[in-house]
Symmetry: C2
Subunit: 101 residues, 2 copies
Amino acid sequence: MKESALCPRLSKAMELVGKRWTALIIYQLLEGPQRFNAIESALPISGRLLSERLKELEKEGIVERKVFSEVPIRVEYNLTEKGQSLEQTVREIENWAKSWL
Amino acid sequence: MKESALCPRLSKAMELVGKRWTALIIYQLLEGPQRFNAIESALPISGRLLSERLKELEKEGIVERKVFSEVPIRVEYNLTEKGQSLEQTVREIENWAKSWL
DNA sequence: TTTATAGATTACGAAAAGTAAGTAGCTTAC
DNA sequence: GTAAGCTACTTACTTTTCGTAATCTATAAA
């Protein structure tokens, strides 16, 4: 990849938000904690990629994973404070969509 | 791709903004009209992809392309009204980056 | 005729995404 | 006790997109 004078924080934010499915997953989690299957059903994403993205978002401290040892097992995902702070960003995309698409 | 109950306008907006380089190109064009080489130098993107993205954005009515038949040729890109309207979205990403990264 | 410049386009290997089938751990039904 | 079902993944494989570098087009000056 080419180097540039671009601010690394902005660059990273753009990579995060501008990664396929990331913003939609956050949008979905703004509704509240949800389990894997619920997210998968709400979005046109496959389980394979949802699993991958949730791991990435967990590593970034944006999403939190909670395992409930019930039968069958239950796993819930919710936004951390850092994740919640992306609400305005995602809402802006939503507003733009309403006005211009 | 899986189908879902997701609002198609939101879905499209997410695909646009959440496509690699798109938001950064718009961010760059917020500075004003710029030529191809200027954008390429400002961002860590290759000419091949920049060309591809600019065509997509032009097709979406977000970016306008102006050719000046000088020697050597000069081509400038600028945001349309629709493109300008994405400023708040891009600024939100920028703000989030400043606060959380 | 060669060189230079800007803005692309093409070729090709590498990486990421899409699809479908399979796995693990535990439960209930037969 | 074994077969089937549930959730949350994971693996294998194909298709699409990306990244890098070389090439093309048009024009003009050296």
